[in-house]
Amino acid sequence: MRRLLALVPLALLAGCSGMQSMSEGAGFGSHLFNQLMLLFLVVTGISYAAVLLFLTMAVVGRRNEGGEPRLQALLIAWTGFILIGLILLTGASFLSDRREAREGSDRTPLKVTVNANQWWWGIEYQNDDPSQSLRTANELHLPVGRPVELKLNAGDVIHSLWIPALAGKQDLIPGRENDLRVVPTRIGHYRGQCAEYCGLQHAHMAFDVTVESPQAFAAWYKAQSQPAPEPADPGIKAGHDFFMSHACAMCHAIGGTPANGTTGPDLTHVASRKTIAAGTLPMTRGALMGWIANPQGVKPGARMPAVGMTPDELHAVASYLETLK
């Protein structure tokens, strides 16, 4: 009930919650943000109302009869009010910052390394046994309630990993490893986006976040650890062969196939993702074909070149990629 109460003024103010809205409160960080923002709104609201009231009285109301001493007394009161307000807000923000750091410290955190490159996210789930670690791109699956520690590295320029519905952002700076702790508290689909200007396609550098039950997460993790299935149907085989013999394999990697390029996103289970091209297009056959045929049309300046192919080669490759569930 308390959380709903916190949401009411914010929802009023924020119009509604969306999958990329801070007031969503689906993570402990975002939940704390709501509470703290509410406290700030109350304190600043009161002071703003006081200023407006005093201003209206000064411009249109009766003149001050009390003379200088009355003004001085009011000034001392006003300074005191500001001081108390600031101390209260500073203290509250410091305490909630500490509180967020302690949250979920009793549970073993999930370890994920994020490698940001110009205009996509490389995600790697670490595991104690390295063979169990999992590489994916532009999406993050998280078990609800379990804290996740993200190791943030940048491969080229400064980016900023930000999932508004879950927690605050943290920059990824080349030559420096930052970390971010997120504790998801509500199951659902959310969207994160790069928040630090990183060049031509900074606007199209988003990623999907799915918070699910631990069982669903384990099932997803196991499915993602499997290599790509061998293509059976000749049409799909043609797509597979084109992929392996052309520029695609130079940049992309598909588990269980000779393609092991690391400069582009890992496509082993690309069809299982909600979006492609870092959250720019939905994962549908039409969008896939449009993106492969002409990446500059969708993301002008993106590092994916337009590989020359005939229409049936395009259909074959699309069919092959659709099998990579």
């Binding site: 080229d156 013999s245 052309h246 520029a247 130079m250 002409n294 500059q296 337009a306 020359g308």
Partner: protein
């Protein structure tokens, strides 16, 4: 060609707003990547006759992309981190075994060369080859000084290209 539409409308709109674009946007820092796959991929011949070829060697953007491709495609493995040479020949001197012109270098990348240079015919798109060729020529100082980046963000033991005097290549020789 859906792609050309918005660009043309945007350029017209921009000219309306700017009013007096003094000179045509100088090629040096034009960020647009050609993305018409038809002209590049279909046949071997098409790659070599890229219409914008003369623009690559003086475009800072394309040389920058060439620098990225040089490390991504692991050319450094044979030709050394800054084209200093290794198993493969060096790009920093004036010695061009198969010719130092843009087209010669693209031909080497496209078709490969005997004793070790693999063919990247299907491995790279036409534009990537032109960008690589522009970067390779800049390593020996053939690109204009104000177009070449002073350094990369990687470790480098060499003095920046802008600080080295360029080695003018000998007359390009007929390929063997």
């Amino acid at each position: 060609m859906p792609h050309v539409g918005p660009r043309f409308r945007a350029r017209l709109f921009w000219l309306l707003i700017a009013g007096f674009c003094l000179l045509s946007s100088c090629r040096q820092s034009d960020r647009s990547q050609t993305s018409d796959p038809r002209a590049e991929g279909a046949g071997g011949g098409a790659i070599l006759s890229d219409p914008a070829q003369q623009g690559y060697s003086t475009s800072a953007f394309h040389i920058g992309e060439g620098q990225r491709l040089y490390s991504w495609m692991n050319c450094a493995g044979c030709h050394g981190p800054h084209g200093g040479g290794g198993m493969g020949p060096s790009f920093m001197d004036a010695e061009w075994r198969y010719g130092g012109g843009m087209a010669d270098i693209v031909r080497s990348i496209d078709g490969g060369r005997p004793n070790g240079m693999p063919s990247f015919h299907d491995r790279l798109t036409g534009q990537q080859m032109w960008q690589l060729a522009a970067y390779i020529r800049s390593l020996s100082g053939l690109a204009p000084k104000d177009v070449v980046p002073s350094r990369g963000d990687q470790m480098s033991s060499k003095a920046p290209i802008t600080q080295r005097s360029p080695d003018k290549p000998a007359e390009p020789r007929e390929p063997y």
